[in-house]
């Protein structure tokens, strides 16, 4: 039991010793151990200085004003007399050509043959008249034909004017006829109107009739009133009769007597009224007769007036008939004149067309005269080329340096391709390359460029001479063209340039590798030191910056810095602000 207890105590003791030893070691070496777990960073001082953003590019030196030596015929080159880079004087031989018909001469002979054949074919053309051939052979010039055409054209123009004048006269005559017809029709219309007119105008007869009608109406009203009074009296008598009968039936004799007296009175009134009624009736009849007579008088008057007016209109219309016939005759004459003149115009036009056709036959594309001229030209070309066939050379048209020879011995020259390119004496060289718009914005014409690996060249000077849109991508790129001067410059030489804006001085400059970025913008990490009993501890601290300018290696910044801080450039592990770091030994 005790043995077990002792063993256990030893175990506990050993464990405690091991634990304390480990703790002691950890305490002493904690800093070292921790240092190895920290990211190692390389740092650099914040500096002040200048930033120069350089634009670099490469291009091939070309002649500033190259002269291309061209020949017009395809000839085989026997030998080349010069080499690229040779300086030659005007008239010096560049190429010797073989003594052999050139392709151009063969082609010219073929053309001559064709032209002659075409002329012969044209003579057999059935459209040709004897006058055509006669005139072509007599050598009537195109000028003469032009004069003839002018005469014919004038005749056509005069005929056209005559037609126009005649047409105008027809128009005028037609207008006159239309006007007369219009007036004639106006008479017809007026007659119809007059015929349907009532002629109810102001007249004595009409006044008489109106008065008679008025009197008739008055009489009728009077008759009506009298008739009414009569009816009333008759009605009253009938009523009184009824009352008398009732009084008699009732045995009221007094009342019956009174009523009888009243009835008698009414009967007297009735008789008087009857006389009045007869008089009024007679009056009405008399008035009706008078009114009728007045109406008849009025009607007679109207009929007379209408007849007079219509007769007058018809007389005037009859007078217009003669004028109308005359105008229509004149119109017909004018129309006939137009027809005649139009025919005349057609004749003139035909003459002109015939003349043109004749000119075409003689001077046109396949005209006799043209074909003859073609033969002459082809013959001339053949003669010219035959002269060059023997002992031909190509000579330098200017003094200068040969920069390019495009044909070698044994090959043929071509009319389209220059056989050689020369740099004229006294002219400079150019070099160009393309840059982005952003890069071009930092440059200006006149900027001096440096040569990359400048030690290779002695006295070459390069100056920016123009900034133009690059045709390959005009929206995005600019073509920089430089003037290159110097004794060692040759065309075709490849040069690399570096050109940049003037440098500016800044207080805070850090290496590009120190600039970092996250969603809060650009920043740098600086190292802050803190002394402790176990050594100095270094902490990364974030400083937000604004990048003012950059070149290939450095950036100028604006930040809350004193200017003597250590800036972290690289690290072995990602570094976060506020975390401890270990400085690289160097």
């Amino acid at each position: 039991m005790n043995e077990n207890g002792t063993k256990r105590r030893d175990w506990v003791k050993n464990a405690a010793i091991v634990f304390l030893t480990v703790m002691l070691l950890l305490t002493f070496f904690s800093q070292t151990i921790m240092n190895y777990s920290l990211p190692e960073v390389a740092t650099q001082y914040v500096q002040s200085g200048s930033i120069t953003a350089k634009i670099r590019g490469s291009g091939t030196v070309e002649s500033g004003d190259p002269y291309e030596v061209k020949v017009t015929e395809t000839r085989k080159v026997a030998s080349v007399a010069v080499r690229v880079g040779d300086e030659v004087q005007k008239g010096d031989i560049l190429y010797y050509l073989e003594d052999k018909d050139s392709e151009e001469l063969q082609a010219a002979l073929e053309n001559l043959e064709k032209a002659e054949k075409a002329y012969e074919n044209a003579l057999l053309n059935t459209n040709l008249t004897s006058s055509d051939i006669q005139e072509a052979e007599s050598g009537v010039t195109i000028e003469e034909y032009r004069n003839r055409i002018t005469v014919k054209q004038n005749a056509v123009k005069a005929a056209e004017n005559a037609v126009k004048a005649a047409e105008n006269e027809v128009t005028e005559a037609q207008k006159k006829v239309d006007e007369i017809n219009e007036r004639y029709e106006a008479f017809n219309t007026q007659i119809k109107i007059e015929d349907s007119n009532n002629y109810d105008g102001d007249s004595d007869e009409r006044h008489a009739r109106d008065r008679a009608n008025e009197e008739l109406n008055t009489s009728r009203n009077n008759l009506s009133n009298v008739q009414k009074s009569y009816d009333e009296i008759v009605g009253a008598i009938t009523e009184i009769d009824a009352k008398i009968a009732a009084a008699n039936a009732a045995g009221n004799s007094e009342e019956a007597a009174t009523l009888q007296a009243a009835k008698d009175s009414k009967i007297v009134e009735r008789d008087a009224c009857t006389i009045e009624l007869e008089n009024a009736t007679a009056d009405v009849r008399a008035k009706e007769v008078a009114a009728k007579a007045a109406q008849e008088a009025l009607d007679a008057k109207k009929a007379k007036d209408k007849e007079d007016i219509i007769n007058s209109l018809r007389r005037q219309q009859a007078e217009l008939d003669d004028e109308k016939n005359e105008a229509e005759k004149a119109l017909t004459d004018k129309k006939n004149a137009v027809t005649d003149r139009t025919k005349d115009l057609e004749d003139r036009q035909k003459e002109l067309t015939d003349l043109n056709a004749q000119i075409e036959r003689i001077f046109g594309q396949s005209g006799l005269q043209t074909l003859q001229e073609n033969i002459d030209k082809a013959q001339e070309e053949v003669d010219k080329l035959r002269e060059k066939t023997t002992g031909a050379t190509i000579t330098a048209p200017i003094s200068g340096t040969v920069t390019k020879l495009n044909v070698t011995a044994g090959n043929s020259t071509s009319a389209d391709t220059p056989v050689a390119v020369m740099q004229p004496e006294g002219k400079g060289y150019t070099l160009s390359f393309s840059v982005t718009n952003e890069q071009a914005r930092r440059l200006s014409v006149g900027d001096k460029a440096d040569l990359v690996n400048a030690w290779r060249y002695d006295d070459i000077e390069v100056t920016l001479s123009s900034i133009k849109p690059d045709n390959t991508d005009p929206g995005q790129k600019k073509l920089l063209t430089f003037d290159v001067t110097g004794s060692t410059v040759t065309a075709g030489q490849s040069l690399s340039l570096s050109v940049g804006q003037k440098s500016a001085n800044y207080d805070l400059i850090v290496p590009n590798s120190a600039i970092r970025e996250d969603n809060n913008g650009k920043f740098i990490l600086i190292v802050e030191s803190k002394s402790s009993p176990l050594g100095t501890r270094y902490t990364a601290s974030r400083v937000d910056v604004e990048v003012l300018a950059s070149d290939d290696t450095q950036s100028a910044i604006s930040a809350a810095l004193y200017g003597y801080e250590f800036v972290i450039t690289t690290s072995t592990k990602p570094v976060e602000a506020g975390k401890l770091v270990r400085l690289a030994s160097n």
């Binding site: 490469s58 650009k522 690289t570």
Partner: protein
């Protein structure tokens, strides 16, 4: 003994789980190409999206430019605006790149190398380890920079410290902006980093090298809601599914993604698209596979102690020696005592006496209760069934 073995094995299993968890976490965070969102802003609302195109996708600089112009309006529509006071702060950054080959030459030698023609902020997404110089961007004024690896620097110049030197690419002079350390190791070499690699501008690659066309595009942008950025990029750039693949890098190593990957076991290797992945995507996919395996092991090593604990709990529950009724009765008893105590206090007069008496009573009760409690606990745990263990425990305490 059996319980001890089980306990130790459970503990070891849990320990292995924790180690695997640590390794997984370390591997996830070691992939810098996948961590651009974390470096750019808050990873909770920022997403890094990558697109990979086949040669038939015909992606051009103009189509990228068109897409870039549409992003700002999309973000405004989503009510995402720039809040930073720093001048020139951007909400998003992107990069495109193309595979190809270039030939570099100096007076010392000539090197034919695999090249990546870059546009935009490529090195924001791929912070390769810089030995000398600095990165360059597709937005720089000049596009005649190149970044070479140590091998190329040695072959071309015989030194690594060559930042700022000139090298000819296709006969045109280019400036060496930086020298990087090319990632090595089995995975990196298999992914395509087995030969010299040069980074040049996209313009340089198409003008002076041999380009396969733009086949990668990456963007880091705000992600106000889940998958906003992924869907936007997919709809506007990766809609042709046969010729494009869109990946959300931010969440590709999350537990959910890893579990999905495990579920895709067997089908993941099948590919019907003519897309050649760049080395960083190959490495990322390699790590995905490794992480999937580790996740599987994590689950197994976590499952063992959890199941063991569950079994032990069930066994203990079955042999516990008390019932819920006992607990209820005890609680009732305690409540009654409290009530009695309160009543007794009310009956007392004089505050000081009450306190003194109360203290004395309390002490007495505690003295009475303590052994009872211990006893009770011992009973509950079943120690009293094993006298030796109870004795050992008491004896060790006394000493």
């Amino acid at each position: 003994m059996k319980k001890i073995v089980l306990g130790i094995s459970g503990g070891c299993s849990f320990l292995i789980f924790l180690i695997l968890l640590f390794i997984t976490s370390h591997l996830c965070h070691s992939q810098l190409s996948q961590q651009a969102a974390k470096r750019w802003g808050n990873p909770q609302d920022t997403a890094q999206i990558s697109c990979f195109f086949s040669v038939y996708a015909r992606i051009t600089k103009d189509s990228i430019l068109e897409f870039e112009h549409s992003i700002d309006s999309a973000l405004v529509d989503a009510s995402v605006v720039q809040e930073s006071e720093n001048a020139g702060a951007r909400l998003w950054a992107d990069a495109y790149s193309a595979d190809g080959q270039v030939t570099l030459s100096t007076e010392r030698g000539t090197v034919s190398a695999d090249a990546i023609g870059i546009g935009g902020d490529f090195f924001l997404f791929h912070p390769e380890l810089l030995l000398y110089g600095s990165y360059f961007s597709g937005n720089d004024l000049m596009q005649d920079y190149c970044i070479i690896d140590e091998d190329a620097a040695w072959q071309l110049f015989g030194s690594s410290d060559v930042a700022g030197m000139m090298v000819n690419i296709g006969g045109q002079p280019h400036m060496v902006a930086g020298v990087i350390h090319r990632e090595d190791g089995r995975l990196a070499e298999a992914a395509g980093l087995d030969s010299t690699l040069v980074y040049v501008s996209y313009e340089t690659l198409i003008q002076w090298g041999r380009s396969n066309g733009i086949n990668h595009y990456e963007i880091v942008m705000p992600n106000p809601v889940s998958e906003f950025a992924y869907k936007y990029v997919k709809e506007h750039l990766g809609s042709d599914e046969k010729n494009a693949e869109v990946v959300e890098n931010t969440s590709r190593y999350s537990l959910l993604s890893r579990l999905k990957l495990i579920r895709q076991f067997g089908t993941r290797s099948m590919n019907g698209k003519a897309i050649i992945y760049p080395f960083w995507e190959n490495i990322a996919r390699g790590y995905e596979d490794i992480l999937a395996v580790l996740t599987l092991f994590e689950m197994l090593f976590l499952a063992y102690p959890v199941i063991l604990a569950l079994v032990l709990f069930i066994i203990w529950w079955r042999h516990k020696g008390w019932t819920l009724r006992d607990v209820r009765l005890k609680l009732q008893d305690k409540a009654e005592r409290q009530v009695e105590k309160l009543r007794a206090r009310k009956n007392k007069n004089g505050y000081g006496d009450e306190i003194t008496e109360g203290k004395e009573q309390k002490e007495k009760k505690q003295k009475e209760k303590k052994p009872k409690k211990r006893r009770k606990k011992a009973d509950d745990l079943g120690y009293l069934d094993e006298p030796s263990r109870g004795f050992r425990r008491k004896g060790w305490k006394r000493r």
